[in-house]
């Protein structure tokens, strides 16, 4: 009770502050926005921490923005990824909407009518600079562009080349049966080495299970609905369970988060895991003794699968023309080559603007495989407002395949999604 009491008070205070803040100086029309001409206002940014430099990466853009628009105050709040959605939830419940939110989902906020379509807060030039295939990912099911991607990443199979050599495996697996056989051989090396890292804990379950589903040739989207309990998903979950039952994954797969699997991989205790460029950047920098390579993700029939993710910029509608104009100026600056290059590089992930992708392809040899995969990546249905329910059901329940049948697990996930209408 005490905890709720304090939260309630905090919320009340924030609401009160927000109300007084808004009733201040809302001018009827916004100024034109050339350098230094914006009226005094405050815009708020809420962003997750991609890496240790995230705060200073944002701060660089803010400093540059301040030299152009000295009248605008920018408030930056950086929060860790693992509890980010509850931070966003708290701000929304307090009606203290950030003008700029960097998040991995947008459909819920768009459906609730809280957002500006991004073409209202970004110039046509800025929008045109974003790779169209990635930009499409920020489009809602209603066909409106509610979010603009700001970084991309893809998951691929990272494998420890030393362990592969020791186990006498010549090349990365391309099919499920090869993957299972290779994982078996690596686990047989003994010690506390595991063949395949299967992080079905809260952080990564939705990604891992989607990749296996795609590998089985299925998709969550069926017509205009999201379906969890489908034959391809049963096949995918059965395959994951086989690995667990064979004892070739790390122990406690259902409670393992991505970082914990990455820790094992970094220390040379894991043969393979599905990983992304940001995690592998850390492996390269801090664990040089761990030699690895990346390959397309194996599937049932051998067609390569890759998982694409973009995070997004969302702009909340605070009903204030000055803030909206300042937001637009800020975002245009942020996506300009000079600003965007340092910002995206700080995340360790891949860029979304065509100019930076071209530059990265030419120069970033570490991530060459990830750039190549951008041409065949599949995305999660993040534009569908129902995805949020499915994602959370997967995160909470997919891990129970370690102790339950795939059919039961998928029925449970489907029941949770259906109950939320």
């Amino acid at each position: 009770m005490a905890r709720f009491a304090t939260t309630g008070l905090a919320v009340a205070t924030v609401v009160a502050l927000a109300l007084t803040g808004c009733s201040g100086g809302a001018a009827p029309t916004a100024s034109t926005g050339a350098d230094g001409t914006l009226s005094a206002t405050t815009i708020k940014i809420l962003a997750p921490s991609y890496s240790e430099s995230s705060k200073s990466d944002w701060q660089k853009i803010i400093t540059e923005f301040k030299t152009k628009q000295p009248n605008v105050t920018v408030e930056l709040q950086i929060e860790g990824w693992d509890d980010f959605s509850s931070k966003v939830q708290a701000r929304i419940q307090a009606k203290d909407y950030p003008d700029i939110l960097n998040d991995n989902a947008f459909a819920g906020a768009a459906e609730a009518g809280l957002l500006y379509p991004v073409n209202e807060v970004m110039s046509a030039n800025t929008l045109a600079s974003i790779e169209p295939a990635l930009l499409k990912n920020g489009m809602g099911t209603d066909g409106k562009q509610w979010a603009a991607p700001d970084i991309a990443s893809s998951r691929m199979l990272a494998y420890n080349t030393d362990l592969f050599a020791q186990a006498g495996i010549a090349k990365a697996p391309t099919t499920w049966s090869e993957l299972a056989a290779d994982a078996q051989k690596i686990t047989a090396l003994g010690g506390d080495i595991h063949g395949y890292g299967l992080p079905l804990g809260k952080e990564e379950a939705q990604v891992e299970s989607s990749l296996w589903l795609w590998g089985a040739g299925g998709d969550w989207v069926q017509g205009n609905k999201l379906v969890a309990n489908q034959p391809a998903a049963v096949e995918a979950f059965t395959e994951m369970k086989k690995l667990v039952d064979a004892g070739v994954t790390q122990p406690n797969a259902g409670a393992t988060n991505r970082q914990q699997a990455a820790d094992l991989f970094n220390n040379g205790k894991l043969g393979m895991m599905l990983s992304h460029s940001g995690l592998l950047k850390e492996t390269r920098a801090k664990f040089p003794q761990t030699k690895f390579a990346v390959a397309p993700i194996p599937s049932k029939n051998g067609d390569p699968v890759a998982f694409g993710v973009t995070d997004f910029i969302l702009a909340f509608n605070n009903g204030d023309a000055n803030r909206k104009e300042a937001t637009k100026q800020f975002l245009d600056l942020m996506y300009s080559d000079s600003m965007y290059q340092t910002w995206y590089a700080g995340t360790g992930l891949l860029p979304v603007t065509t100019s930076m992708i071209a530059k990265g392809k030419a120069s970033d040899t570490d991530n060459a495989a990830f750039y190549d995969a951008l041409s065949y990546v599949k995305f999660l249905p993040v534009g569908d407002p129902k995805w949020d329910a499915l994602q959370k059901a997967l995160q909470g329940t997919a891990g129970t395949i370690t102790s339950d049948t795939p059919e039961n697990v998928l029925a449970k996930i489907q029941a949770q999604v259906d109950a939320q209408g």
């Binding site: 009770m1 008070l9 259902g254 329910a389 959370k392 891990g399 939320q420």
Partner: protein, 302 residues
């Protein structure tokens, strides 16, 4: 006679008001307002983002996605867990504290130092303590697991925090560990109030140690014990961080109590359902306390 007295009473109230106002503001702002807000929230529909979408009636309690009826949530198991959690933690804590307090009440060399050491788990933050235990129990890097394996107690490292049932019992252990200092000190204070001369007189009358303890010390400890137990029940019932940090299994697993379930709901179903469950939780806590009070009847004089 009554009229002047009433006027005097009114005057008294008016005179006292300036001193009462800060307290009243606090009670209204920190207790009443949030409680009313929570009751209101429990009857409204929210999306998972926390945006209000109109009235919900009783849906947040018993609707398709209601607190008590959301599919796949093992509600009976969670209710049992909650009772087991409160009863086991409080009972063991009080029993151990009685022993510890008795021991600390003896005169011996280094008593001050020992008293200081026992207070430590209380002085450190519960989140920190639970996190330390969690790290220690990790399978690859945990020191406790390493110790258990090296001493031969375990054959291989065991993921204590990765399985809802074992995580629950680890949490029980940690909850007892952090509850001991407060309870011990409350009882110790009570022990120091037991007059030496009464004990001596009883000794003279031929009462043995056991009789002196059960007939004199325990009855005199009754007020301290009752307060310690009641405060422990409320604290343990509402305890969130220990279970939340030590149980790493996601979702609606069998290691939850009603309090940790509130937070699962808040993340997946939004504030409406979470508030509904907190109201149920509050009622549940009242029932547990009522049972306790009925059983021990603290108002009955010794």
């Amino acid at each position: 006679m009554t009229a002047p007295r009433r006027r005097g009473r009114a005057h008294e109230v008016r005179a006292a008001l300036p001193w009462l106002v800060p307290t009243l503001i606090l009670i209204v702002g920190v207790v009443l307002y949030p409680a009313v807000l929570m009751g209101w929230t429990a009857t409204r529909k929210y999306n998972a983002y926390g945006v209000e979408r109109g009235p919900a009636g009783w849906d947040n309690f018993v609707g398709p996605a209601g607190a008590l009826t959301f599919p796949t949530v093992p509600i009976p198991q969670i209710l049992i867990n909650t009772v087991v959690w409160v009863v086991v933690v409080v009972a063991i804590t009080v029993a151990l504290s009685l022993l510890l307090a008795q021991f600390l009440n003896q005169k011996f060399r280094g008593r001050k130092l020992l008293r200081l050491v026992i207070i430590l788990p209380w002085a450190s933050s519960v989140v920190m303590t639970a996190t330390v235990f969690n790290y220690g129990l990790q399978t690859d890097v945990g020191l406790f697991n390493r110790l258990l394996v090296d001493t031969g107690i375990l054959e291989a490292a065991y993921g204590f925090t990765k399985n809802p049932t074992s995580a629950f019992w680890v949490a029980v252990f940690v909850a007892i560990y952090v509850s001991l200092p407060f309870t011990t000190y409350t009882i110790l204070a009570g022990l120091q109030a037991v007059p030496e001369d009464i004990l001596e007189a009883a000794h003279m009358d031929g009462a043995n140690r056991f009789q002196r303890y059960t007939r004199i010390v325990l009855p005199m400890l009754r007020p301290a014990l009752l307060v310690a137990t009641l405060i422990n029940i409320i604290n343990v019932f509402n305890s969130l961080p220990i279970l939340k940090i030590l149980n790493e299994t996601p979702g609606y697993n069998t290691g939850h109590t009603t309090t940790t379930l509130i937070f699962e709901y808040k993340a997946q179903l939004g504030p409406g359902v979470a508030s509904a469950l907190s109201l149920v939780n509050f009622a549940f806590c009242l029932v547990v306390i009522a049972i306790y009070l009925a059983a021990v009847q603290p108002t009955k004089e010794v």
